[in-house]
């Protein structure tokens, strides 16, 4: 067996070890390379920045713990920004398995910034139906969510004064890890009820949402951990996303090196077999 053949059949545990080290070492010894801000992320930031105080900001936390590493930092950065701007924050989720996590993160950021439940923010929780919930909220928010996550009637929440349905929402961001997520919020929500909307998603989903972004159907897109790191840099409060960027950098470069190596070995093997064929 030639060297190239042996390298192409390398034990996958070596690759696992390499990726593990590329993830672990930068987390232990951060480098802190500068993060360039993209126009996609700036779109969401600038829009929130332009909103007047007490505008209604709806955040739909449409992910579960599986996507927590990428979307949780996005949600925290967005909430910090919205609370600092004194917006009325209404949070909810379309993913039942994300309800507890969403409640914890909203409460955590609200407490950190000294916000009062019911007056400055509310968490509506989860309601069954997926996209039907979006349409129902567009028709009548109190019909879709008669009570909030803690069981209080939504009609009694001062934060919802003057909010009847999605038409009264000033800005909405869906942080989606799949369906229902950003696309459903656009198709069943924004398109009919005409509110401004931005999106956030996992890195792997981001390319699929670029058509919505380029056509102006959403005014910004926070993609993956990189997007979260950009948003953290924009609000000037670095968190887990910025910390994770070094690890992601090292892992990406490691995968690129692996792909280049595998192609070099592949071509060397192909060349060798062609030469052998000619000789034969």
């Amino acid at each position: 067996m030639s060297f190239s053949e042996r390298m192409l059949k390398i034990d996958r545990r070596i690759i696992f070890l390499m990726i593990g080290l590329c993830t672990l070492l930068p987390l232990l010894y951060p480098v802190g390379l500068p993060i360039k801000i993209s126009s996609e992320v700036r779109g969401v930031y600038d829009h929130i920045e332009s909103l007047p105080e007490r505008s209604v900001f709806l955040l739909s936390i449409d992910f579960d713990p599986a996507s927590k590493p990428e979307l949780h930092p996005q949600a925290i950065a967005l909430l910090r920004h919205a609370f600092r701007k004194n917006l009325r924050v209404i949070a909810m989720t379309l993913w039942v398995s994300g309800t507890g996590m969403a409640d914890q993160l909203v409460t955590q950021v609200a407490q950190e910034l000294g916000k009062e439940y019911g007056k400055d923010y509310a968490f509506l929780g989860w309601s069954p139906g997926g996209q039907a919930v979006i349409i129902n909220m567009g028709q009548n928010l109190y019909s879709a969510f008669p009570s909030d996550y803690s069981g209080k009637p939504t009609k009694d929440l001062p934060i919802l004064d003057g909010v009847r349905n999605l038409k009264d929402v000033t800005y909405m961001v869906s942080l989606g890890a799949g369906r229902p997520g950003v696309e459903e919020w656009y198709v069943f929500g924004k398109d009919k009820y005409k509110f401004e909307m931005g999106g956030g998603c996992t890195g792997v989903m981001a390319p699929g949402l670029y058509p919505l972004l380029r056509s102006g159907q959403i005014n910004g897109l926070i993609g993956g951990l990189r997007g979260a790191a950009e948003y953290e840099s924009l609000i000037g409060q670095k968190g887990k996303a910025v910390a994770g960027m070094d690890a992601q950098s090292a892992t990406h470069v490691a995968i690129i090196v692996l792909v280049i190596m595998c192609n070099l070995f592949y071509f060397s093997l192909r060349r060798a077999s062609q030469t052998q064929g000619q000789v034969g």
């Binding site: 599986a66 914890q104 129902n136 670029y210 950098s249 990406h252």
Partner: protein, 216 residues
């Protein structure tokens, strides 16, 4: 019986299909009220679908355990996990914490579900790296184009890549915004036209496979 099995569902599909397709374009309060009611029904049906799904899952795994089929132990774990979580959830009234103190349901969620789901997702990074090494080869021109584009996007999406090759960020952005967007949009338009055509076929009874293939 044929009327109940075939003609009535087709009639319901025809009427509701046309009604709700038209509803989108009629902003009259009565039309909006009809949509509000219908979406409320959908939410309620969604809730029942959840019960149906759980029941079906229970039934499927009960059969596996009863027959002691291969991997029946996993079915047993599923049963124990589901029943345990349901019991903890009912006991805690669906709350993860009460007055700041974590309930048993919250414990299951925070210390079992969250790390397990996170672990499953994190493992992907290792498998993707291994799979990329084994299969991402420039065997043809098309594969070579894909490979080069992937390498540029991967470099351009991380600070280290932009530091090593400063142009990679802009090129990656161009690939995503221009090439990727246009191709995705073309696919989206094609899929949407197909969905419209299929909807018409269902509304007008041309496509009837959703009725099932039972005896008439």
């Amino acid at each position: 019986m044929i009327f109940l099995r075939r003609q009535l569902p087709l009639l319901i599909t025809l009427i509701t299909g046309l009604l709700f397709a038209g509803q989108y374009y009629v902003p009259h309060p009565a039309s909006e009220q009809m949509l509000t009611s219908a979406t409320k029904w959908l939410q309620i049906i969604g809730g029942f679908a959840l019960i149906l799904g759980v029941t079906s899952l229970f039934h499927q795994h009960a059969v596996k355990i009863k027959r002691q089929e291969a991997g029946w132990g996993y079915s047993f774990v599923l049963y124990a996990g589901m029943l345990g979580t349901i019991a903890a959830g009912l006991w805690a009234d669906g709350k993860e914490s009460v007055d700041g103190a974590m309930t048993a349901f919250g414990w299951v969620y925070n210390f079992m579900m969250v790390p397990l789901q996170g672990t499953m997702f994190a493992i992907l990074a290792f498998f993707i790296a291994s799979a990329a090494y084994r299969s991402f080869r420039a065997r043809s021109r098309e594969a070579a184009v894909l490979l080069v584009a992937a390498v540029i996007v991967m470099m351009g999406r991380v600070p280290l890549g932009e530091y090593l090759i400063p142009l990679s960020g802009d090129v990656s952005s161009w690939i995503l915004n221009v090439l990727n967007s246009s191709v995705r949009r073309a696919i989206l338009i094609g899929v949407s036209l197909g969905a419209i055509a299929l909807s018409f076929k269902i509304i007008f009874g041309v496509e009837r496979s959703y009725l099932g293939g039972g005896k008439e």
